[in-house]
């Protein structure tokens, strides 16, 4: 007899109860850490009053968003976030692929491992430490650049932490310095996975090294490149908070070029106490980020289903 209705479903639940039990802590965690805050986005539409509580506070509709987009800040933080991320994606990917290809060419396994370890080192340290490293270079009174390097070229000392114009370059260099190693290891893994027979056949056909890289290596690691780029594009509205907060030492004069959505939200919440505008900026970030992931994934899946995230 074929069973219908709820009975088989409950039987199944009973059979799998141990597995469901295993998932309880993880699911509970996701609810607390991820899903409850998702409902918290209502804060962006409210005039938060701690006395009334989050749910009891008055609704203000899109007022918080109106205030946000009336300020010059909205444009500046959006522009900074996007421009920094675009240059990071291009430079990081380009550098990482080049280094990975070169690393794969090194015949001495010992040296290859040594280079790899050193290049990965900056990835391991915290942004606070990176802040110290940058300070030792740029500090006005005792930094290496001002006291040792610039005088060698007969140049005047520069008050780095008060001069916005240098910071787009400084932040980009620091970011590439810190994260290229990680991306490089991922690409190297993909390169090592390429079948050697392709190269042997190409060598017999007389292909030069450059031709082999262009026609074998790069096309075969393209799926990995696509996925990593896709992940980065999906997060183009987010930034590494540490990079933009720690490295410029939260210096006020630099804000026009170092302020991104993440630092703006943080400042609104922690220093200015402007919770409404801050959560409006946060929701703007999450929503646009979400749309960008869906969009970029859609574009990739139309071209090649295999390379898409979902």
């Amino acid at each position: 007899m074929v069973q219908t209705g709820w009975t088989p479903f409950f039987k199944k639940l009973k059979r799998y109860r141990a597995l469901f039990l295993m998932m309880v802590p993880g699911i509970a965690y996701l609810i607390i850490n991820n899903y409850l805050p998702m409902f918290g986005v209502v804060i962006a539409f409210k005039d938060i009053n701690y006395a009334k509580g989050i749910l009891g506070s008055d609704w203000v509709g899109f007022k918080n968003f109106e205030y946000l987009f009336k300020t010059a800040d909205a444009f500046i933080i959006t522009r900074n976030t996007i421009l920094y991320n675009v240059s990071f994606i291009i430079l990081n990917t380009g550098m990482a692929i080049t280094i990975a290809i070169l690393l794969n060419e090194i015949r001495s396994k010992l040296m290859a491992r040594f280079y790899q370890s050193v290049i990965l080192l900056p990835f391991l340290i915290s942004m606070v430490i990176v802040g110290y490293l940058v300070l030792s270079m740029l500090s006005a009174e005792s930094g290496y650049l001002n006291l040792n390097l610039l005088p060698m070229f007969g140049m005047e000392p520069i008050s780095w932490y008060f001069e916005p114009k240098y910071w787009p370059y400084i932040l980009t260099i620091v970011q590439v310095w810190k994260s290229t190693g990680y991306l490089c290891v991922i690409f190297l893994a993909a390169i090592i996975g390429v079948d050697h027979e392709y190269y042997e056949a190409a060598t017999i056909d007389g292909a030069s090294k450059w031709q082999q890289i262009r026609t074998i290596t790069v096309p075969l690691i393209a799926p990995t490149i696509t996925i990593m780029t896709l992940l980065a594009i999906g997060r183009i509205f987010y930034s590494d908070f540490g990079l933009f907060y720690q490295v410029p030492l939260n210096s006020g004069p630099l804000q026009p070029v170092t302020d991104v959505i993440d630092t703006y939200v943080y400042r609104g919440l922690m220093t200015l106490g402007d919770i409404g505008m801050s959560s409006a900026a946060g929701l703007y970030q999450s929503l646009v980020g979400f749309i960008l992931v869906l969009l970029s994934n859609y574009i990739v899946s139309r071209r090649n289903k295999e390379n898409a995230l979902f």
């Binding site: 639940l13 799998y16 141990a18 469901f20 295993m22 998932m23 802590p25 993880g26 699911i27 965690y29 996701l30 850490n33 991820n34 805050p37 998702m38 918290g40 986005v41 701690y50 989050i54 070169l102 690393l103 060419e105 090194i106 015949r107 280079y115 370890s117 050193v118 290049i119 080192l121 391991l124 915290s126 606070v128 430490i129 802040g131 110290y132 490293l133 030792s136 500090s139 005792s142 290496y144 001002n146 006291l147 990680y182 290891v185 991922i186 893994a189 090592i192 060598t203 540490g242 720690q246 030492l249 939200v265 919440l269 801050s278 959560s279 946060g282 970030q285 999450s286 979400f290 992931v293």
Partner: protein, 292 residues
């Protein structure tokens, strides 16, 4: 074959430049910490101390109570966070890797969706502080980092699904093993590579975390080593003003070199263990990459 190799000398030359660029700031930091304060004031931080000095470290030794306290906090949250994070990740990932689990795709989607959309900093902060009252507790340093947005769960799930044959699980079940016993006795031992990788990632995340301390902790007794470093970076006199060690402190401490010595102490443990876990780390990144 030989003619087709890249010119090894050129490639090595490029890498030597890269190695210098990567190590340069670290060497500057370490050397500065061993430099006499007056030399830093007149010559700046430099690669070769014109006047070698251990003053910075002896000053930090006077402050050892605060140092050890912060180290203790960091070690504690790293151990607990890594262990608990790894445990609940594996417990969540394993059932999701089983193709026969009812409602599997719905549950997987719940995990995956956390990667696509989040409430943002403000609601998260308010929930942790106003609803769960975690401000100034150790929990605030441990809880927010546990599952890192579901990404690790998906990696572990993929590993379980691809490298543990269903037949083994089925036959164990028929032989009367409970699901927990199968998980503990068979699945976990077969999955050491991915567990080691995720464990290392969690360890690094917890060791380096300063953000949770920045927003949830205002009580200096609960500062992790990164938060102490953070305060010292912004406010060079932080240790002196707060007198965290409780001892009498020198009137004119060598603050510039102390700052750099603090940073050295902050990196040291990681640098010391790096050679040992480097192998697993690279292998782990590789696993993650190949599976996408």
């Amino acid at each position: 074959m030989k003619t087709n190799d890249m010119n090894q000398t050129v490639v090595h030359a490029i890498f030597i430049i890269l190695v210098v660029l990567c190590l340069f700031p670290f060497v500057l930091l370490i050397m500065s910490s061993f430099t006499e304060e007056s030399a830093i004031v007149s010559n700046g931080y430099s690669f070769w101390p014109s006047e070698f000095s251990l003053d910075a470290y002896s000053y930090l030794w006077i402050q050892k109570a605060a140092m050890f306290n912060s180290y203790g906090i960091t070690i504690l949250i790293t151990i607990i966070g890594t262990f608990v994070g790894l445990l609940i990740s594996a417990l969540l990932a394993y059932p999701l890797s089983r193709r026969d689990l009812p409602m599997r795709s719905l549950l997987s989607f719940l995990v995956f969706f956390t990667l696509l959309f989040n409430g943002g900093l403000v609601p998260t902060y308010l929930i942790y502080t106003e609803v769960f009252h975690m401000k100034n507790t150790l929990m605030a340093l441990i809880i927010p980092g546990l599952l890192t947005n579901g990404f690790f769960i998906l990696l572990i799930r993929t590993f379980f699904a691809n490298s543990i044959p269903v037949q083994i699980i089925e036959s164990a079940y028929i032989d009367g093993a409970t699901e927990f016993k199968i998980f503990y006795r068979m699945v976990l031992p077969l999955s050491l590579p991915i567990l080691a990788t995720i464990g290392l990632m969690l360890t690094i995340n917890y060791w380096n975390d300063w953000f949770n301390g920045l927003i949830y902790i205002t009580e200096p007794k609960l500062f992790s080593i990164q938060n102490l470093l953070n305060r010292m970076l912004v406010n060079i006199q932080f240790l002196q003003q707060n007198n965290l060690g409780g001892q009498q402190i020198a009137a004119n401490p060598p603050m510039n070199s102390v700052r750099m010595a603090m940073a050295v102490i902050g990196i040291l443990p990681l640098i010391l263990i790096y050679p040992f876990f480097q192998k697993y780390f690279v292998k782990g990144l590789t696993i993650g990459a190949v599976k996408g």
